[in-house]
């Protein structure tokens, strides 16, 4: 029992480097380091040929062009076989007309799922839950989302958080709740008393010295 628990405890944390692993995908053998220099969304799904996952794959395919515009690559994963993945994406295209043109990892031995903490035994001991890992061009975990087996993911939120991460990286700012591109961003709080005084003279929209927003 302890061993079984131990194998599920490898949870990456924000700011951790992504382990470099060689993976079998529907686009051939890849290394995670092959994605260095691009943003990367790695997402897991419980199983091929299941209804919620099919809707998610169609939705990921629909946002794929938008992700590419943002410099983001997409990489799916489940513990199904390559043959199953290939049959499923062919089936999705045949039945719905939606082409799945991003690679999908076949993680039959759960090596990646274990390293990434994608199996949550309280949900399922055999399937991966609906994880989303957003990884930056330096191969650092920047954001993680976990959804239960029963709940399909929201693509707008995935695009929104990528926009937010890229905005904060480019401009050294933070983003408020429900931020969307075009909204005002938060200026980091001043770190000295002098800076706090100056902050109020800099033309930002300030609620108080620690809470100022600006347009970017």
């Amino acid at each position: 029992m302890e061993e079984e628990t131990a194998q599920f405890t490898g949870m990456p944390r924000l700011g951790d480097p992504v382990p470099d692993m060689e993976v079998q995908t529907t686009h051939g053998t890849l290394r995670l380091s092959d994605f260095k220099g691009s943003w990367l969304v790695i997402f897991s799904h419980p199983a091929d040929f299941t209804p919620v996952c099919t809707t998610e794959f169609m939705a990921f395919a629909q946002i794929h062009p938008g992700l590419k515009k943002r410099g983001v690559e997409l990489l799916g994963l489940s513990v199904d076989s390559l043959t199953s993945h290939i049959a499923w994406v062919r089936n999705i295209e045949e039945k719905t007309g939606v082409k799945i043109d991003f690679p999908i990892i076949a993680d039959l031995n759960k090596e990646v799922a274990t390293r990434f903490g994608m199996v949550h035994p309280g949900q399922s001991k055999t399937e991966t839950v609906r994880c989303v890992f957003i990884i930056d061009p330096n191969q650092v975990f920047r954001l993680m989302l976990y959804y239960p087996l029963s709940t399909g993911r929201n693509m707008d939120e995935i695009l929104r958080v990528i926009d937010a991460l890229q905005m904060t990286d480019a401009n050294k700012v933070a983003t408020p709740a429900n931020w969307r591109p075009g909204d005002m961003v938060i200026v980091p709080p001043p770190q000295t008393q002098e800076a706090a005084e100056e902050r109020l003279k800099q033309g930002y929209e300030c609620v108080d010295w620690y809470f100022c927003k600006k347009k970017v």
Partner: protein
């Protein structure tokens, strides 16, 4: 979509990459621009083409055609 088939012959993607190298592209960045392939595909494809003997990898990850690769493009 690997760049080399199980029978050892390059796929269409592999041939495209070999042609890019033949036209003077020597780095993954240049090959990605020339072929329109995403960088991760170029990096994995270069590994396969080198392992299969169609490309030679030199210093600084610069690649060139081997005799075997030259014969194909």
């Amino acid at each position: 979509m690997p760049c080399v088939n199980p029978d050892g012959k390059p796929t269409d993607s592999g041939i495209n990459m070999l042609r890019a190298v033949q036209s003077g592209k020597q780095t993954a960045d240049d090959i990605a621009v020339a072929t329109g392939m995403p960088m991760y595909r170029v990096r994995s494809g270069l590994r396969e083409l080198v392992d299969a003997g169609f490309l030679l990898r030199g210093d600084d990850d610069v690649v060139s055609l081997s005799d075997q690769g030259e014969a194909l493009v």
